[in-house]
C-alpha cells in the first residue's frame, strides 16, 4: 500500500550501454501499472531497479516518499514474482512460501496461518508438501505468487509472470491475477511483452522502446490516441495498417488520399485537425484492421486478396493494393453471407474503404501523432 515514484531514473551498464533513459513515473497507491514493450526495451531493468536487484545509475526511486536507492531489496518492503518462478527446488511448497517469514523470525504458528491462508486463496493447499519439481507450470506460478503474497508488502512486482505458460493457461491465470488484485488491494507493477496482458490488466500502461517511455496512459487512451507510430503499431492485434499518403486541406475540409482514392476526414477527427490548423502535408495514415470495411458501393480502394485467415469469429484478409502495399482487414464472420465468405479466395479483387473517425495521423518525420499534444 504505497506510492512509487521514479525520477529521472537511468541505467547505464559497464559497457556504457544505456538500458533506460530518464524514466519518470509516479505510481499512485493501489494502482496497477503495466510496463510493456518488445524485448530489450528496458522494462525488466526498470522493474529490477525498483526491486533493488539492479543498481540505479542515476535518478531516484521512492517508495512511499522514501528514497530507496541505497536500500537492499529486503529493506524495500517489496515482493516479486519472477518469470521462471524461481522456486527453491530443494524446499517443499510450504517451505518455499514460508522462507521469507522464517528469515524474519516470525513464530511458526503465525507462519502456518499465513501460508495456509495464501494457499487457500490460490487453491494449492493440497500441494503444500510437494517439491516444485512435482508441480505443473500453472501450479508453480501460484506458488510463486503465494510466496510474494505472504510478505504482505507495500509493492507487488511481477516480471513476465505468465510468459512461461501455454496460451490457455495464460488466459486463465490472467483472470486470476485480476481477482487476486482485488483481494490484495496493493500497488502492482507488472512487466510483460504481451500487449493483450497489458490492456486487460493495467490501470495504466507504460509503453517502452529502447529504454525510452513512448507513452503512459490508460488502456483506452493508448488504444484510441496512440502518441506515436510505435505505440500505434504495438497496441492492438493484428497491428495497425500504416499508409503513406497526403493530408489535403481544401475548402475548409480535410481529405486523405490513400492509393489515389480521396476520402473525407469528417466528424471529430476533422474538427481536431481544424482546431490545430493543419495544412496540406505528407502524413502516415494509420487505420486498424477492424476499422476497414469491404466496400460494396464502389469508389473504394481496389486491392487483391492474398491470404484469407479464418479465425473462427472473424476473418483476417491479407490484401495488397495496386502499388503492392500490404494491408490487413479484419472482418467479423457474422457480417458476411456464407456465399460471399466462400468466394473470398486468393486472387479475388476487392474494394475496401474506411471512415474518417477511425483514422490516425502521424508525422512522417517525427512519427508523432498529429492530434496528440
Amino acid at each position: 500500500m504505497a506510492s512509487v515514484k521514479l525520477t529521472k531514473v537511468k541505467k547505464i551498464y559497464d559497457n556504457n550501454v544505456v538500458a533506460v533513459h530518464d524514466f519518470d513515473l509516479e505510481i499512485k497507491d493501489k494502482e496497477f501499472v503495466v510496463f510493456v514493450g518488445p524485448s530489450g526495451c528496458g522494462k525488466s531493468t526498470t522493474l529490477r531497479m525498483v526491486a533493488g536487484l539492479e543498481d540505479i545509475s542515476e535518478g531516484t526511486v521512492e517508495i512511499d516518499g522514501v528514497v530507496v536507492n541505497d536500500l537492499q531489496p529486503k529493506d524495500r518492503n517489496i515482493a516479486m514474482v519472477f518469470q521462471n518462478y524461481a522456486l527453491y527446488p530443494h524446499m517443499t511448497v510450504y517451505d518455499n512460501i514460508a522462507f521469507s517469514l522464517r528469515l524474519k523470525k516470525m513464530p511458526e504458528d503465525q507462519i502456518y496461518e499465513r501460508v495456509t491462508n495464501a494457499a487457500e486463496i490460490l487453491g494449492i493447499t493440497q500441494y503444500l508438501m510437494r517439491k516444485p519439481r512435482a508441480l505443473s507450470g500453472g501450479q508453480r506460478q501460484r506458488v510463486a505468487i503465494g510466496r510474494a503474497m505472504v510478505r504482505e508488502s507495500k509493492v507487488f512486482l511481477m516480471d513476465e509472470p505468465l510468459s512461461n505458460l501455454d496460451a490457455k493457461l495464460r488466459n486463465q491465470m490472467r483472470a486470476e491475477i485480476i481477482l487476486l488484485r482485488q483481494k490484495l488491494d496493493t500497488t502492482f507493477i507488472y512487466v510483460t511483452h504481451d500487449q493483450t496482458e497489458a490492456m486487460t490488466l493495467g490501470d495504466r500502461i507504460v509503453i517502452m522502446k529502447d529504454g525510452y517511455i513512448m507513452q503512459v496512459g490508460t488502456p483506452t487512451e493508448v488504444f484510441e490516441m496512440p502518441a506515436n507510430l510505435f505505440v500505434a503499431e504495438f497496441i492492438g492485434a493484428p497491428k495497425m495498417n500504416i499508409i503513406k499518403t497526403r493530408l489535403l486541406h481544401e475548402n475548409g475540409k480535410y481529405y486523405v488520399t490513400p492509393f489515389g482514392v480521396k476520402i473525407e476526414v469528417d466528424g471529430e477527427k476533422g474538427r481536431e485537425l481544424a482546431k490545430r490548423q493543419l495544412g496540406t502535408r505528407d502524413i502516415l495514415l494509420g487505420v486498424r484492421p477492424e476499422h476497414i470495411v469491404l466496400d460494396r458501393k464502389g469508389g473504394g480502394i481496389p486491392c487483391t486478396l492474398e491470404v484469407n485467415e479464418m479465425m473462427g469469429s472473424e476473418l483476417h484478409l491479407h490484401v495488397y493494393t495496386e502499388d503492392e502495399t500490404r494491408l490487413i482487414v479484419r472482418i467479423p464472420t457474422i457480417d458476411l453471407e456464407t456465399s460471399e465468405r466462400e468466394s473470398l479466395a486468393q486472387g479475388k479483387k476487392l474494394s475496401i474503404t474506411f471512415e474518417g473517425k477511425v483514422m490516425h495521423f502521424f508525422d512522417p518525420e517525427t512519427e508523432k501523432n498529429l492530434l496528440c499534444d
Partner: protein
Amino acid sequence: MKKNETEAPVMKQHMGLKASAAISNTIIYVILVIMSIIWLIPFVCIVLQSFRVESTYIVDYVVPHKWGLDNYVKLFHSNFTRWYINTFIIALVVAVVQTVIVLCMSYTLSRFRFKLRKGLMQFMLILGMFPGMLAMIILYRVLDDMGMTGSNSLPGLILVYVASSGMGYYVSKGFFDTIPKSLDEAARVDGATRAQILYKIILPLAKPIVIYTILTAFMGPWGDFVFARYVSQLKPLGMNVAVGLQSWLATDTMTHDNYTLFCAGGVVVAVPVAILFMCLQRYYVEGVTGGAVKG
C-alpha cells in the same frame, strides 16, 4: 509387379541391418572383454603377489607357490602404519579445508560481479601456467624454517595442499553457474543476506559438486608423490604412503627385496580408497563431465 521390385531390396537391406548390427556388436564385445582383461590384470596380479610368501623379491610368475599373510603381518610391524595414519590425517584435513576454500572461491566468482573479478580469473589462469613444482624449492625452505619438514612434515604438507587450492575453483564454479541467478534474487527479495543465500539455497542445490570436491580433495593426498617427497625429505616418520611405498621399490637392486611388501601395502591403500570412490562414483562423473564441458 513394380511394387514387388521396390519392396525386395528394402527387405534385404532390413535383414542386412540386423545382421551387421549383430556382427558389430560381437566385435565390440570382444574388444570390451579384451580391454577389461588388460585393465584388470595389474590389479589381479598385485593382489596375488601380495600373498606370496616363498620369496619377497620381484619374480616373473604371478601365482604364488606358497600362499600366506606374511606380507600383511610384516606391513603392520613396519613404518607403513605410520605412513598410513599420516596420509589419512592429511587427507581428512585437506578434504575439509580445501572444500571450504574451493566453495568460497567458486561461489564468489560465480555470483558476485566486482571490479577485479575478470582480472582475478585471468591472473589465476596465468599463475596456473607456472609449474607448481617451482614453488616447492622455496616452500620447502620456508616450511623448514618453521620446523614443518622431515619427520614433522604433517602440518607442512597440509599447508602446501590447502594453501593454493583456491585456484581449483573451475569445476564448481561451472556448476554454480548453472543454478539460476533468479533463485538468488528471489531469496534477496525474501530477505536473505548473501551468506544466508549461500548456505540455505546454493549449497543444498550444489550437493553433487560439494561431494565431488570433498572426494577429489580426499583422494589427492593418497596419490601425491612430489610434494610429499620434497617436504618429508625421505624421513620415515614424515612420509605418506606414496613416498613410503616408492622408497621400498626405489632401492637400486634389480630384485627389489621389498617387492611383495609393496604389493601388500598397495592393496591396503587401494582397497578403501577405491571402495569410497566407487560408492561416490556418480558425483565424480558429474563433476568430471561438467568440468570438461565448461572447459
